[in-house]
Subunit: 368 residues, 2 copies
DNA sequence: GGAGAATCTGGTATCGTTCCCATTAAGAAT
DNA sequence: ATTCTTAATGGGAACGATACCAGATTCTCC
């Protein structure tokens, strides 16, 4: 089944300022002044104003976007550079960003770089060519400095003129580790984020510092590191499965994020261990599905919505007033959300056996 | 900690065509002709061409986007209208769309309407003002006809000049129901999508038809309907919990999508029943996390990536050649992915008891 | 009544491209 | 020698809105 081409009669015969002015027997200047409510046209009497507005409404006059942008070189749009579009972190952040931008009559253009530096470079260049009024870097380690206002979210971009919206990772680490030690966990496994995620490096540094301060050992043989920045639980699943094959000398895992935590839980259960009875799992982010997984996920909640909103707000403020000084960093506070995936540490049957496999008791199959 | 405003020295002194032409001792016309490889300039000798390209590269000449677009009224960008940004369906679809658009040197502008008709109208109007070259409606029941090429994905938009990319819902229903009956399920509960999701209506019609054809009863008391088009498992959880409180006279649930299926599974397990031993659950979409949930999800896979790709391809083709005729509908084939959440139907102990509560055997608590 | 202020309006350059039309020069055909 | 092509380039008018700078009218005040 086929159908015709676009109906040309649908095309809105879009008239321009000149035609509108002619119809009103006024000059383009006057009409433009009125329509833009320009200060230079304060003196135009109300009768004229009303006539102009009336006619504009009647003819559905819309100023041409390109002509206007060409003239005053503002595009009323911003570029958003992200690693990719994926479940979890991004939908929440992007939703918040979008809602603020659209409300402020801005549009945004998205580009994903899949953590390839060349693409980050290429897209920021192409976006600049598009004359975006600002740039929002989400989880994007951009070395490049751009000639427009920019805000970096979870990116730790130290460039001048860039405001960084970041999480208080020290607090995040403290919340998670305190929760685990309160439950009696001492031997904790750690899952680091992929090396090309900037935020992951900062997070890890905080974890190491806080752990040391709290007297928690970070044993190399209990550390895993995600290799690809995959947003699938798969990677967390792999790592956890491999670690469990090696040894089971830990009672809790602190995962890089909720997505990898879901994979880790799956791996733990696959070996017949139970979460949280045998191993407690704690995630990071508090993605929407975290509350509904089986078991539901204890996690360090990033205020993602608030972070996205703040980033968008600051960006628009920077665009509106490029003279003003803005903070180089805005730190947001995480929050601990306790659910089912963490519980009291089991009494360990083999304290020493780093190389031994799990004892019978911890291997006890889950019924059903 | 504060830091200075945007460094003005970073600003790339972007020269224009006129200056470039002056430097080359050529006219703007010639330079433009060469740079655009225009057919009108076929006769320009290679030496001149080389000089022009050389200079353009040297001075980093970039044509001004607005001036160019104003002149030939093409924006090289398309608008993408979606209900919202959320987990599951959208990241996959959007990723595919984006990758094709950016590869073709198009950018895209996203707007979410949260299923409010007024916002659909407003955003498509505002996007038209932005002179997007085309519109991509994702799961968006747009009654409006636009003066640019459009492609509708899962939207069932019958407007002329719109290509609809849709799933073969008859096949989808057949795959799911055949799978369930093969496993011995006869009494199946159904979870319909929210009424404002167009695709959900078509899906339901297919299910009703196929069920009738296969002799499967669709009992009203086993039917649920999602009320909000929420992309959180919450809604599925609610519905399932309420149904289970009413009666347990079914051995399988066909959920609207994977997200609601995750909520349903959670609700089932919360009452002490097991998936799939007591109740089988089948989802829809095959979102990334479906393979990693506990239990992993049997689902009807939509070829989301392929659908997004096709939609983007057809849209760009329509833009490139508005004279050509395009199909009004492109139907994609779903696929059944069998995982752990479905299993053989349990031997029912109460065949008749539509109003009775579950028997002891089905209520048997899950150990652990 | 005339200078000057206040009020209202228009002319026109400008933003940076593209592209229709000329124009020139050289060679080919008559 | 004159016209006709063809090759190689330039002039300049759009595209549509904005904004500087004037010009014109009315009003105020001495």
């Amino acid at each position: 089944m086929t159908q015709g081409k676009v109906d040309p009669t649908v095309e809105r015969r879009t008239l321009n300022l000149k035609q509108l002015a002619e119809h009103l027997h006024l000059s383009q200047t006057t009409v433009s002044l009125v329509l833009n409510n320009a200060p230079a046209g304060r003196s135009i009497p109300q009768v004229t104003r009303d006539r102009v507005f009336e006619a504009a409404r009647h003819f559905h006059y819309r100023p041409n976007y390109f002509a206007r942008s060409l003239r005053n070189s503002r595009s009323m749009s911003v570029g958003v550079i992200v690693p990719d579009l994926s479940d979890g972190y991004f939908p929440v952040v992007m939703n918040a960003i979008e809602s603020h931008l659209l409300k402020s009559h801005y549009f945004y253009v998205t580009a994903s770089h899949y953590r390839r530096p060349d693409l980050v470079e290429e897209y920021s260049r192409r976006l600049m060519e598009r004359a975006v009024d600002g740039l929002l870097l989400v989880d994007t380690p951009a070395a490049i400095t751009v000639p427009v206002p920019a805000v970096a979210l979870s990116s730790h971009n130290p460039a001048p003129g860039v405001t960084n919206v970041v999480l208080d990772h020290d607090l995040a680490a403290r919340l998670a580790l305190t929760h685990l030690t309160d439950l009696g966990h001492q031997r904790i496994a750690f899952m680091q984020g992929a090396p090309d995620i900037t935020d992951a490096r900062y997070r890890w540094i905080s974890i190491v510092n806080v752990a040391q301060e709290m007297g928690i050992e970070i044993a190399p043989e209990r550390c895993m590191q995600l290799q690809e920045a995959s947003q699938s639980p798969e990677s967390g699943h792999h790592l956890m499965r491999d670690l469990l094959e090696l040894h089971r000398d830990f009672t809790a895992v602190f995962c890089f994020n909720d997505i990898s935590a879901l994979g880790a839980i799956r791996a733990i259960c696959d070996t017949g261990l139970r979460v949280p009875q045998d191993i407690s799992v704690i995630g990071f982010d508090d993605i929407i599905t975290a509350a509904f997984s089986q078991p539901s996920l204890t996690t360090v909640k990033q205020p993602l919505r608030q972070m996205g909103l703040t980033a968008a707000e600051v960006l628009l403020e920077r665009i509106a007033d490029s003279e003003k000084e803005f903070p180089a960093e805005i730190v947001m506070e995480p929050e601990l959300i306790v659910r089912e995936s963490t519980g009291p540490a089991p009494r360990l049957s083999s304290q020493s056996g780093k190389t031994t496999t799990a004892t019978v008791s911890t291997l006890q199959k889950r019924a059903g």
